[in-house]
């Protein structure tokens, strides 16, 4: 297993993370690092504990669960800190179920997320103009794709040092998958991301390093390319082939936030 390029200092260090929820040991000693640039992708089969890892970092595991180990964010240990405090160190979270508040309007959802006196609405509305149009709409009435955009826009309002993003393309139509992929790629240019994702096309496009979880520990750590190029390894660790009908339409196209072209774009999410 090759290590990450030596020039990237580790921003996030996970050391021997163990999580026990309702009597079952989900994570049994997970250790990896995420550098201060680029996208580190957390991969693994369904249910292996990828979301749990993100939640453990943020302190969002269910009440009564036991979390041991060490999580260092730029040298600062996170595990004993309350969630709201550690988030203020510059961690942005886009959860798996999007976590937007259905009873609040789009504008209110955004307003709630503001952490600084001068939030960056330009970037948020710039990437997602549709949100601006739907400002006064109740977030519960948005479509899945729109909710996902809201969830992402929300974190972009604040200066982030690391984003934790959990399956942003889950359940989205192919066209939206492309849009989200574009956004993720764009955001990754300025902010490092720890990304949980099953869509290998997206992973290949934006990901730099991979951390693969299996049986509660890390089974592979290294660059994305070699992993996905090795069909056998991919199939063994992830349960799917890396080349299964996942294609992008134009890898380096300038991201069109409203890219509505009906052209047959990136394939469906690779569901294992």
């Amino acid at each position: 297993m090759s290590a990450a390029p030596p020039t990237s200092r580790a921003l996030l260090s996970i050391v021997d993370l163990r999580v026990r929820i309702a009597g079952s040991q989900i994570l049994q000693g997970v250790s990896f690092e995420a550098p201060a640039t680029g996208v580190t992708v957390l991969l693994g089969r369904n249910g292996v504990g990828k979301s749990t890892t993100l939640k453990a970092i943020l302190g969002l595991t269910p009440a009564g669960s036991q979390v041991t180990g060490e999580v260092l964010f730029d040298g600062v240990p996170l595990l004993r800190e309350p969630t709201h405090q550690l988030v203020r160190r510059g961690l942005g979270y886009v959860p798996e179920d999007r976590g937007i508040f259905a009873g609040l309007t789009v504008a209110e959802n955004l307003k709630l997320a503001e952490r600084v006196p001068d939030p960056d609405y330009d970037t948020a509305y710039g990437l997602f103009p549709e949100l601006k149009q739907r400002s006064r709409q109740r977030a519960g009435t948005l479509s899945g794709g729109q909710q996902q955009m809201l969830a992402i826009a929300r974190v972009l309002l604040n200066p982030n040092r690391l984003l934790l993003v959990d399956e942003p393309t889950k359940g989205l139509a192919p066209r939206l998958v492309t849009e989200v992929a574009d956004v993720v790629a764009r955001v990754a240019e300025t902010v490092p991301i720890l990304l949980v994702e099953q869509n290998l096309g997206l992973v290949r496009r934006v990901g730099r390093d991979a951390v693969v979880l299996a049986a509660g520990t890390v089974a592979y750590r290294g660059p994305i390319g070699p992993l996905l190029d090795d069909e056998q390894l991919t199939r063994a660790l992830l349960g799917v082939g890396s080349h299964s009908r996942v294609r992008e339409k134009q890898p380096e196209a300038a991201p069109q936030a409203q890219g509505m072209s009906a052209a047959h774009g990136a394939g469906g999410t690779a569901q294992s």
Binding site: L58, L60, A63, P82, T83, H84, Q85, V87, R88, Y93, P95, G99, F101, A102, G103, L104, E108, K111, L112, A113, R115, R154, N158
Partner: protein
Amino acid sequence: MSTFILLLLTGLGLAGLYYLVASGLSLVFGLADVLNFAHGLFLSVGAYATWWAATNLPGAGSEGLGFVLAVVFGVVAGAVIASIVELVLIRPLYRRTIAQVLVTVGLSLAGVALLQAIWGADPRPFPRPAWASRVTMIGGAAVPNSSLLLAVSAAMVLAGLLAFLRFTRVGLVIRAGVEDRSMVTALGIDVRKAFTLVFAIGGAAAALAGILAGVQFSVVSPGQGTSLLIFGFIVVVIGGMGSVTGTAWAAAAVGLLQQFVNYYASGLGDICVVALLAVVLLVRPQGLAGVAGGAHA
């Protein structure tokens, strides 16, 4: 017709009482997941504080502005006690829901016993302004002013709460927190501060309920809080926990139902209310305004 108007307005008065009791419960449960059994205690605290103030606080009395002063004193007492309870007893048990429930149970038992020890178990006459014992003629019906007072007060509290939730930042945090508390913390917001505020609001509303109940029934006793509390619970479950408007509708339904049925068949009204509860649960377990399978059923 005049009977109908009488029943309607007294029913709304009763609904107002239930709403005042239930609104705090609903918010506290919706936001903090705490089943506050000591809520009945806040009711009694408010009532006794006003009772004490009317005779002991300079400037306060049972008439006019003096009465208002006594009421304010009682409401503030309720809010303060509630805040202290949250800070000292509930907060250290953050996320340990059953332990929190147990503590409120213990507190309700001990608190009522304490009140009993200080002021005795017997009902005491409650100070009330003369106009509260009178009636107003509306459409041929002699409506007790105390009922009108209850209905109007509750309506004002409802309006105030809705405005607070809609237009303030804390209100926004509370609305979001009721839906998904952990996500609010993931946005960097310390929800616990909102807890104390919600407890305080609940305590104030409960205190007001206790005071107005004292005005209506013209007595105050240590156990008063408990019986009202149970109806408060029923209203919260029917209306959907955490929903201010749902609680209002439920309170109206329960108050009117109880009043109308009790008029035609004394005692049956309470049973009908519980039957309504059962029906709502069978048909829509999350309550009228609750979210199906949502954060708080």
